[in-house]
């Protein structure tokens, strides 16, 4: 199993972390949800994977391209 980082595609604020470390996700299932442009924008699993680590906390501001989670899959 290969570990990789998942990056945010947009600058915004972490509104809610949906998948805690250890959670098994299918492709396109949300890891966390950002608030940006007054929209709830999910950062989703790019493939079927397990969440290894969440690199941000709720309320944090993240930039475009910033890694927000480590996954394994």
């Amino acid at each position: 199993m290969k570990q990789s980082k998942v990056a945010s595609e947009i600058t915004g604020k972490v509104w809610k972390i949906v998948a805690a470390p250890g959670t098994q996700l299918a492709e396109d299932e949300p890891i966390l949800i950002l608030e940006s442009m007054k929209m709830e924008i999910p950062v989703s699993a790019p493939l079927d994977c397990k969440v290894v680590e969440i690199l941000v906390a709720e309320g944090d501001t993240v930039s475009e391209g910033q890694a927000v989670a480590v996954i394994e899959g």
Binding site: E9, I10, M37, K38, M39, E64
Partner: protein, 509 residues
């Protein structure tokens, strides 16, 4: 028999020219699962209709005469689903289909004949780059510029496939096309990795230099990615079906599939009521279009914007939409480029445009400003304002600020909104922050009170009250509404043909 010797020589020369490059190279291709140039032409062109031009062409250098059949490109004219087209199919087994004098003349002949007589052009490309020694020296590079190939007025559709290593002139031919499909494993770049490593000391994998991910996700030069040679040709065939033969003709009309009206009935289940929730606009488009008719264009690049060819009741259209699933539907600099180039495509070939807007606006911020957002928005708007094809703009849930205008609001033949539409200069919640300096987290009660105030007169009905929306519609009527608008705005006085003011728009972004 009279002329027996000549007939025998003709037969021998014909066979030699048709044999392409060495048997070894041809076998290597076959083993790799690749079609050779003549097989590609056979798959593309209706049986028995290929009229070859330049079978006996060869290199200008006498010493290369025996190793340069057709000078590395199978050129000519033939029918695709009955429609006459020009074809240039690179033969990589002959000197890497490298760019040289006769090789270039043949391709220019097909391009020019097709442009002057109204036939689409198909390029099946591979190219090792400029041929050495032919193009070395002053005379060599001088000759390379003799055949005009770098400026193209969009008079006939030109569709290209990147089917192998495609450098230099081959890459430029693809870039100058209306649509480009790429086979996985192929490469498109100005210069090969070998030349790159010598020129700037940078070693790299050709896939990083110009592979399918690079061009479908990074540069946006490639409109579609497929797995095999056969898939490339099938994609070209399908894409061509949306286009007229030339800019002075209207698009072919297809039969309407059975049950075509059914999917739109479920459209209310595709879009969340909560304005802040995301959804996939591509599902909405699929519900509106004739079943199976959607052909995505650049679907891996700048995903905020969806651009696709589709049919509504048999009529070909270009659809431009924002997709809330990506970046919340906020238009970024790349999506502006993507849309502007798609407007140019549609306008050049009389494809009406349908705008579907659900956007919080342009994606503001440091990164966007650095990437020249203001200029991109204006290029997008220039393409929109110069276009003369019929345009139908529809707002689904919200459309704010300049993005409302860029997405065709008030800039189309007709503008309408779903009854869910919300239209204003900016999102009311943002306005409360800016105008009253009140944040939700600091004073939720006051914030809600002010947000309600700011959100007044932002509904679809408010837009319709001043006749800036010409209709407010039930989402389930979207398909029939668009079809009726296309009947009304038919450009009857010019038989459906536009003014093509974007025909000379630069070929790439």
């Amino acid at each position: 028999m009279a002329f027996e010797k000549e007939l025998e020589a003709f037969q021998r020369r014909t066979e030699a020219a048709r044999a392409m490059g060495s048997k070894k190279r041809l076998a290597e291709r076959q083993d790799a699962g690749l079609l050779n140039a003549r097989q590609r032409v056979d798959v593309l062109i209706d049986a028995g209709t290929f009229e070859e031009a330049g079978l006996f062409a060869r290199s200008i250098r006498p010493e290369a005469a025996g190793i340069s059949p057709t000078d590395g490109v199978v050129s000519g004219f033939g029918r695709i689903d009955g429609r006459l087209c020009g074809v240039n199919a690179a033969d990589f087994t002959v000197l890497g289909s490298s760019s040289a004098e006769v090789h270039g003349k043949k391709q220019a002949f097909v391009r020019n004949a097709a442009a002057q007589n109204g036939h689409p052009v198909i390029n099946l490309m591979e190219c090792a780059g400029g041929r050495i020694p032919d193009i070395m020296g002053a005379a060599g590079i001088g000759r390379a510029g003799e055949h005009s190939r770098y400026t193209r007025t969009r008079t006939t559709p030109t569709l290209s496939a990147v089917m192998g290593l495609t450098y230099g002139g081959g890459a430029f031919a693809c870039i100058n096309s209306d649509l480009v499909v790429m086979r996985k494993g192929a490469v498109l770049a100005v210069s090969s990795q070998m030349a790159t490593s010598v020129a700037i000391g940078e070693e790299m994998d050709p896939q990083d230099l110009g592979g399918w991910r690079h061009h479908s996700e990074g540069t946006g030069f490639v409109d579609a990615v497929v797995d095999t040679d056969e898939d490339c040709i099938a994609w070209i065939r399908k894409a061509l079906s949306y286009f007229p033969d030339h800019a002075n003709a209207t698009t072919p009309v297809a039969p309407i599939p059975p049950d075509a009206e059914d999917a739109v009935a479920g459209i209310l289940d595709l879009v969340p009521e909560h304005r802040g929730k995301t959804y996939d606009m591509r599902k909405v488009i699929a519900a509106i279009a004739d079943p199976g008719s959607v052909l995505p264009v650049k679907d891996r690049f700048a995903k905020v914007a969806v651009t696709c060819l589709a049919r509504i009741r048999g009529r070909a259209v270009g659809v431009i939409a924002t997709n809330p699933m990506f970046k919340g539907g906020a238009l970024d600099p790349d999506s502006c480029d993507k849309i502007a180039s798609f407007i140019v495509l549609c306008d050049s070939f009389n494809l009406p445009i349908v705008f579907l807007a659900d956007t919080p606006g342009f994606l503001v911020g440091l990164e966007s400003e650095k990437r020249r957002l203001a200029g991109k928005i204006m290029n997008f708007m220039a393409a929109l304002e110069l276009s003369t094809v019929p345009k139908v703009a529809l707002i689904l849930r919200k459309s704010f600020g300049q993005a409302y205008l860029n997405m065709g609001g008030g800039k189309s033949d007709t503008t309408a909104s779903w009854f869910t539409g919300e239209i204003s200069f900016m999102d009311p919640a943002v306005a409360v922050n800016i105008v009253y300096a009140v944040k939700r987290e600091d004073d939720p009660e006051r914030f809600e009170e002010l947000a309600k105030e700011v959100a007044k007169e932002t509904s679809a009905y408010d837009l319709a009250a001043s006749f800036m929306a010409h209709a407010v519609i039930d989402p389930r009527e979207t398909r029939s509404y668009i079809a009726r608008q296309l009947d009304i705005f038919s450009r009857g006085l010019t038989n459906g043909v536009g003014a093509h003011r974007l025909a000379d728009w630069p070929p790439a972004f």
